[in-house]
């Protein structure tokens, strides 16, 4: 094969045979079957395809797979550990912070990125950080509530 790209996703290495200029989103979603990462616009405008690259939230529809080989990638499938949900997943679940839930993976991944750099975000920080994530069902207030709740849980746990 001409293409022998390798990417590291959720702690595992994968060979990717899609052309190197393919957006990372399609490599993850279609070739590797990690379908939790969603196509919402393909334009970096909706946040549904958000994954962590080297720990930072990135729009996977805007990054060619060839540019994603150097750093480890985390998708929504990589958050659960030993059958235990990530505190953000648990908080979204507890708050019922989804309706059609198509935005949920991206919301959770963006929020994981936020809490990694700002463990105790103010409401304003959350608005600012999630401004690029679209929810068409209008579940925003519960998403904010879930992120605040998860932040508190994670701070308590770290203590």
């Amino acid at each position: 094969m001409a293409n022998s790209l390798e990417i590291e996703v959720n702690g595992k290495r994968y060979a990717v045979s899609y052309p190197p200029d393919t957006p990372l989103l399609y490599a993850l979603h279609d070739e590797l079957g990690l379908t939790g990462t969603k196509y919402g616009c393909g334009e970096g405008q909706c946040g549904a395809c958000t994954v962590l690259i080297g720990g930072a939230p990135r729009r996977s529809c805007q990054i060619p797979v060839s540019a994603a080989t150097a750093k480890p990638i985390t998708t929504i499938e990589g958050l659960e550990k030993d059958g235990k949900l990530h505190p953000l997943q648990q908080a979204f679940l507890d708050a019922g912070a989804f309706q059609c839930a198509f935005c949920t993976s991206g919301m959770v991944m963006s929020s994981v990125g936020l809490l990694q750099t700002n463990a105790n975000p103010k409401r304003e920080d959350i608005l600012q950080f999630l401004q690029g994530n679209i929810c068409r069902c209008g579940t925003h207030p519960r998403v904010i509530e879930a992120v605040q709740h998860a932040a508190r849980m994670m701070l308590e746990r770290a203590r």
Binding site: C100, F102, T104, Q131, C137
Partner: protein, 719 residues
């Protein structure tokens, strides 16, 4: 006056895509048990074996009709005690998978966790016209109650026979039948074991009243919630089949353009690419989305374009092109508007323009099609699986029995996923490729080739007496539709009419249909009248309202909002609006802040009171109500589809602004639970009053009356 309206059959209005023909369910009884295993099953089948449900096609009378009693839904209690309900309705985020499961658990007397629902699969579920018009709760809830009640009685009957006692003395609870006299009990699983008991039922009304509900009425969390937060739920766009290819379809550069020539030599030379041509249909398949897109981009096509109306001239176009002959079905008259106006102390005329808006569900239209031995299976996110099945059968000239449409729980629709576009495209490409093909529309395709909530022009003329009572009401809607067109206010002299206009952009259902436009016009006009009469807007409405349920939501919202409020800041304003549609009532208060220097408009706080009869799931309802307020803010403030020369000029989220986190005000939902009134649907009505409430608040803040939607696409500068 008792104004409890119990007959609220949906108006199948022009923009609610008509119901499909009626069909028999063709899964044989024996097949049913083979599929699900032995147990106890209850079918509720219509008298004439036809699944006549929803309002029948062709009946478009102005007034509500009683719902047909014929119903079809069914339920199976397995040998393992698992209860399976079957419905043709689709889950798209409105959370009916949860609320229907609650209803079944409640009436069958089983734990919520033991119920599962098979939804929207044309080979497994009963015929259903579609998931629209806020019909699921008012139709499916009573149907499943009847089915579950019958299943419960069947199980009691089995136990009675086993113990040789009269069934009347036995009690069903916690998935068990107990004989209180002897303290013996059988679990439902034990009773179902080895049985293939089935019963057809007439449609009766023996249901547990809402005051005695134990599982229904509770704020239970969404079924399968864990699958959504872990990303494991498979939407249509996530399903993968062995050997599957990805498809793309060539679109014309403008609406109405026809193909004159195609050069597909470049894509044909690409590895793994197949080009499919069939008349004006040109599409490609490839091993990946990216390669399919490249192949599509490499096609050279010539088109003949035709002149098209643009958004700049749309409102004058709609007014000028209204069909001249007035249609009686679209007109409602009583008294004499002329006399009412002559008797009025004040008269007012207003005109309201409402722009086209897009649904923009986050999961675009998607379909995966597979042909096996001449039979077609399509997974697609649609609100009308049976209609999609029929359309596929018709397009491909195969019997309906050769088509199966399956709807995975879908990434929202809001009225925007009635049609079978992506399904037909995927099926055509799959037939040519000889492999399964998936088509997922791009966001640009979704913004361009889906359909829109129709634009409209609304003209209102009214008169009031010296003491602020309506004396005349004349209301004309051009193009946008009839939903919510009738005024809920008491007025002896009225003339309400809908005027059809030939389509400009492809138009169809949207959450609330035209009720949003009609309520915007009516409630904006009422606010202006209150101002003319120098009466507080709440008091003015109450003065003209005898509908008790409408008064209740108005009083509830006023109490929670603190109406009337005194302004404490520059640029602050408060507004109010209310409405009724599809069996439920809404009243909304909004607080806005206008920065006079920058023109920046912010909605600060919204309180919405909502009443839809007995509440099935208050948590799900709250999500729907708050969600409708937020979604409604988009159409209220800034959403508008722009078009020129047959092209949509803002087909991206960067150009078509939808509400984001910073646009979201503080929102309080006040839910009135009327256990004495049958449950109505709640997906649509909560979106209707936010736009006029915000517009009226902006008037309060600035003295500028905004009569068009969107209200402030470019902010608001003092005149």
């Amino acid at each position: 006056m008792n104004t409890v309206r119990q007959s609220f059959a949906a108006e199948p209005e022009r923009f609610e895509f008509g119901a499909a023909p009626l069909h028999k369910f063709d899964l044989a009884r024996r097949e049913f048990f083979k599929l699900l295993g032995a147990g106890v099953a209850v079918f509720v089948v219509a008298k004439d074996a036809l699944a006549a449900q929803e309002t029948p096609p062709g009946s478009r009378s102005f007034h509500n009709e009683e719902l047909p009693k014929e119903i079809t839904s069914w339920l199976h209690v397995g040998e393992d005690g698992v209860v399976t309900g079957f419905t043709g309705k689709a889950e798209m985020g409105q959370n009916i998978r949860t609320s229907i499961s609650q209803t079944i658990a409640d009436e069958l007397r089983v734990p919520f966790e033991s119920v599962r629902l098979v939804m929207a699969d044309t080979s497994l579920t009963p015929f259903d016209a579609g998931t629209f018009g806020s019909r699921t709760t008012p139709t499916m809830t009573p149907q499943f109650r009847r089915v579950a009640e019958a299943a419960r009685n069947l199980l009691i009957g089995v136990a009675a026979k086993e113990w040789n006692v009269a069934p009347e003395g036995l009690v069903a609870a916690d998935a068990k039948v107990t004989d209180p006299a002897s303290k013996r009990s059988f679990s439902y699983a034990e009773l179902a074991r080895g049985k293939t008991l089935a019963q057809n039922l007439p449609a009766e009304d023996p249901v547990t009243p809402a005051t005695e509900w134990k599982v229904a009425g509770k704020p239970l969390p969404k079924v399968d919630g864990r699958a959504f937060v872990t990303g494991s739920h498979q939407y249509t766009s996530d399903i993968r089949l062995e050997g599957m290819l990805y498809g793309k379809v060539l679109r014309s550069p403008s609406f109405g353009a026809t193909l004159t020539s195609v050069d597909d030599s470049a894509p044909k030379a690409m590895s793994g690419v197949t080009v499919v041509r069939d008349g004006d249909f040109v599409g490609v398949t490839a091993p990946s989305v990216h390669e399919a897109q490249k192949a599509l981009d490499a096609i050279r096509a010539q088109w003949k374009e035709v002149p098209q109306v643009s958004s700049k001239e749309i409102f004058s176009y709609l007014k000028k092109n209204a069909e001249p002959s007035s249609n009686e079905r679209f007109r409602h008259q009583k008294g004499s508007v002329e006399e009412g106006l002559a008797a009025a102390a004040h008269r007012l005329e207003t005109t309201h323009n409402v722009a086209y808006i897009a649904h923009a569900p986050l999961e675009p239209r998607a379909a995966l099609a597979q042909w096996t031995d001449g039979k077609l299976t399509v997974w697609t996110g649609t609100q009308r699986p049976f209609a999609n099945r029929d359309e596929l059968a018709s397009v491909f000239h195969i019997p309906e029995s050769s088509v199966r449409v399956i709807v995975p729980d879908t990434g929202a629709a809001y009225g925007g996923k009635h049609t079978s576009d992506a399904a037909i495209e995927a099926a055509r490409l799959a037939r040519a490729a000889g492999k399964p093909v998936k088509v997922v529309w791009t966001r640009e395709e979704e913004f361009t080739w889906a359909y829109f909530r129709p634009a409209g022009v609304i003209e209102v003329k009214s008169g009031i007496s010296r003491d602020g009572k309506l004396t005349a009401w004349e209301f004309h809607n051009y193009h946008s539709g009839m939903s919510g067109i009738e005024t809920p206010y008491d007025v002896a002299n009225q003339h309400t009419e809908y005027h059809q206009v030939p389509l400009v952009l492809r138009s169809g259902s949207y959450r609330g249909l035209a009720a949003t436009a009609n309520h915007f016009a009516r409630e904006t006009h009422m606010d202006a009248l209150a101002h003319v009469a120098q009466i507080d807007p709440l008091e003015f409405r109450l003065k003209n309202l005898s509908d008790v349920r409408m008064r209740s939501v108005l009083e509830a919202v006023a109490k929670s909002f603190g109406w009337p409020r005194k302004k404490t800041q520059e640029g602050q304003g408060f507004g109010l609006a209310c409405g009724f549609e599809k069996g439920s009532y809404v009243a909304t208060c909004a607080e806005v802040a206008v920065n006079h220097a920058s023109g920046d408009v912010r909605v600060i706080r919204v309180v919405e009171a909502f009443e839809c009869g007995a509440i099935v799931n208050p948590d799900g309802l709250r999500n729907q109500v708050v969600g409708a307020v937020i979604q409604g803010l988009g159409g209220a403030l800034f959403e508008a589809v722009e078009f020129e020369n047959g092209r949509i000029t803002n087909p991206h989220f960067a150009a078509y602004r939808v509400p984001r986190f910073r646009d979201v005000p503080k929102i309080e939902a006040v839910l009135l639970d009327r256990k004495d009134i049958p449950s109505a649907g709640a997906g649509e009505t909560p979106i209707m009053a936010i736009a006029p409430a915000v517009g009226n608040a902006l008037f309060d803040a600035t003295g500028i009356r905004l009569n068009n939607l969107p209200l402030v696409p470019n902010g608001l500068r003092a005149a």
